[in-house]
């Protein structure tokens, strides 16, 4: 026993014990009831604890994520299906809206021109070799479409004339075709001329009102309409708005540059006027 007491190991143990007991007493005595040792150790261990708790939380989240993964996948699929469904409905809605708009315009035109018999049509193609962009529509002889019937778009703007009719389709020569010549007049000044186009104007979707007097009163902003002469086109179909007036270099007349109010490249629906008062013989090569 004496030997044991004299060993260095025992002495160290006693010192440590005393040290801790003192610390414990100091802790009991102190206000915050913590020993200086636990404070010192805590200072060292706390960041480590934070790190381990962070990792632990991470594992917890991961495990919950793994657990919820299947449920989430189901939810995502459900939501995706819902989105798909809504997108389809949106497309249907947009199409119906466009149709309604077209039919509204159609009825407006019918109200305005009671003598018109109109056949709505969809643009289905174009002639690739025709630089003036002749278009193909899905209505033909079967639907009562005839050669030289005028074609308008929803806003009552003249698009062109039927130049070829098949059983279930027709080809339209647009007003951007230099072969199409339309007797027309400007509504303010009542000056008459004929609307046609040239290669360069057609490239920029423009037409011209040719055959005007040198000292024409037509000015920018004037509206050019069909005059109804020639019996191919009914009177007062809008051709476009005057952009500027120029002198014709070839003779002593002037001409006005006209901007039609439709974009040929975006044309989807047109209306073929199959009958109107005063409809007669064709000017298109007949």
């Amino acid at each position: 026993m004496r030997r044991f007491i004299k060993t260095g190991w025992f002495k160290a143990l006693v010192v440590i014990l005393v040290f801790f007991i003192c610390g414990g007493i100091a802790g009991v005595v102190s206000k915050d009831k913590t020993s200086p040792f636990s404070t010192a150790v805590g200072a060292v261990v706390e960041p480590l604890q934070r790190a381990t708790s962070f990792v632990g939380n991470g594992f917890k989240t991961l495990s919950s994520k793994v657990k919820n993964f299947k449920n989430d996948e189901k939810k995502i699929k459900e939501l995706q299906n819902k989105i798909d469904k809504y997108q389809k409905e949106l497309v249907e809605f947009e199409n119906t809206k466009q149709k309604v708009e077209l039919y509204e315009k159609f009825w407006d035109i019918k109200d305005e021109h009671k003598d018109f018999k109109i056949q709505p049509a969809i643009v289905i193609g174009r002639d690739v070799a025709n630089v003036y962009s002749s278009i193909v529509i899905n209505k033909g002889k079967v639907d009562g479409v005839k050669k030289s019937d005028p074609v308008i778009c929803g806003n009552g703007q003249l698009v062109g004339v039927v130049s070829k009719v098949g059983g279930t389709y027709s080809v339209i020569s647009t007003i951007f075709d230099s072969a199409v010549k339309i007797s027309s007049y400007e509504i303010k000044t009542r000056e008459t001329g004929f609307s046609t186009t040239t290669a360069k104007l057609s490239e920029n979707n423009l037409c011209r009102l040719s055959g005007l007097n040198k000292n024409t009163a037509i000015s920018t902003g004037g509206i050019v309409c069909t005059s109804g002469e020639g019996t191919v086109y009914p009177r007062d179909l809008i051709i476009g708005t005057v952009k500027e007036v120029r002198d014709d270099k070839r003779d002593i007349s002037s001409y006005a540059i006209i901007v039609p109010d439709f974009d040929i490249s975006r044309l989807e629906n047109v209306l073929v006027v199959t009958e109107f008062d005063g409809q007669g013989t064709s000017m298109m090569g007949e």
């Binding site: 643009v123 289905i124 193609g125 174009r126 002639d127 690739v128 070799a129 025709n130 630089v131 002749s134 278009i135 193909v136 130049s163 070829k164 098949g166 389709y169 080809v171 339209i172 020569s173 075709d177 230099s178 072969a179 040239t198 290669a199 360069k200 490239e203 490249s265």
Partner: protein, 182 residues
């Protein structure tokens, strides 16, 4: 159905279908891109390439079929495209069967010839009489660039047709001589 006939039927059906699809692409707005206003006359290289691999009569018929499809959407006089494409395909068929070799160089030559011929005749018949003032402008601005654009699309068409016919021949070998001997 005999195997030797199967080759012919599949070949004809596929080529007709190919012409049909190309015609749809060509004649529908926004289906094929235009480059600086130049458009691709896809049916011309297709007809030339097909007639290079076909016998005289069948190449003529393929040309006529392609022309008919083009005529549906064309504002030009009825039958213009049919006649021109028929002539082009017949000429190409004859040249390949009797005079020329069937390779990419020949295909380029024949397609350029066909494109220039078609566009020049179209321009002379439908553009020049109507718009004498702007006809030269249109020739330089639209018809010649369209020729170049269409010609640039010929190699993939030629390779596609050659590849398809080669594979078909490998899968369903034609036993013409054997049938005759029988």
């Amino acid at each position: 159905m005999k195997k030797e006939y199967l080759h012919v039927y599949i070949r004809r059906c596929m080529l007709v279908l190919f012409i049909l699809i190309v015609a749809m692409i060509q004649n529908t707005a926004h289906m094929f891109p235009t480059i600086f206003g130049a458009r691709a006359f896809l049916l011309i290289p297709v007809v030339v390439c097909i007639s290079m691999f076909e016998k005289n009569i069948s190449s003529t018929l393929y040309g006529a079929f392609a022309g008919l499809l083009w005529d549906i959407s064309s504002g030009a006089s009825s039958g213009f495209n049919t006649i021109i494409l028929l002539l082009i395909s017949t000429t190409c068929g004859f040249l390949i069967n009797y005079l020329m070799r069937n390779n990419m160089v020949t295909a380029t030559l024949l397609t350029s010839f066909a494109l220039i011929l078609y566009n020049f005749i179209y321009w002379m018949a439908f553009v020049f009489p109507v718009d004498k003032e702007g006809c030269v402008y249109l020739l330089l601005r639209f018809y010649l660039p369209s020729c170049a654009y269409s010609l640039a699309l010929m190699p993939p068409i030629y390779i596609l047709i050659r590849h398809f016919l080669k594979r078909l021949r490998r899968k369903f070998p034609v036993q013409r001589r054997l049938t005759r001997n029988k």
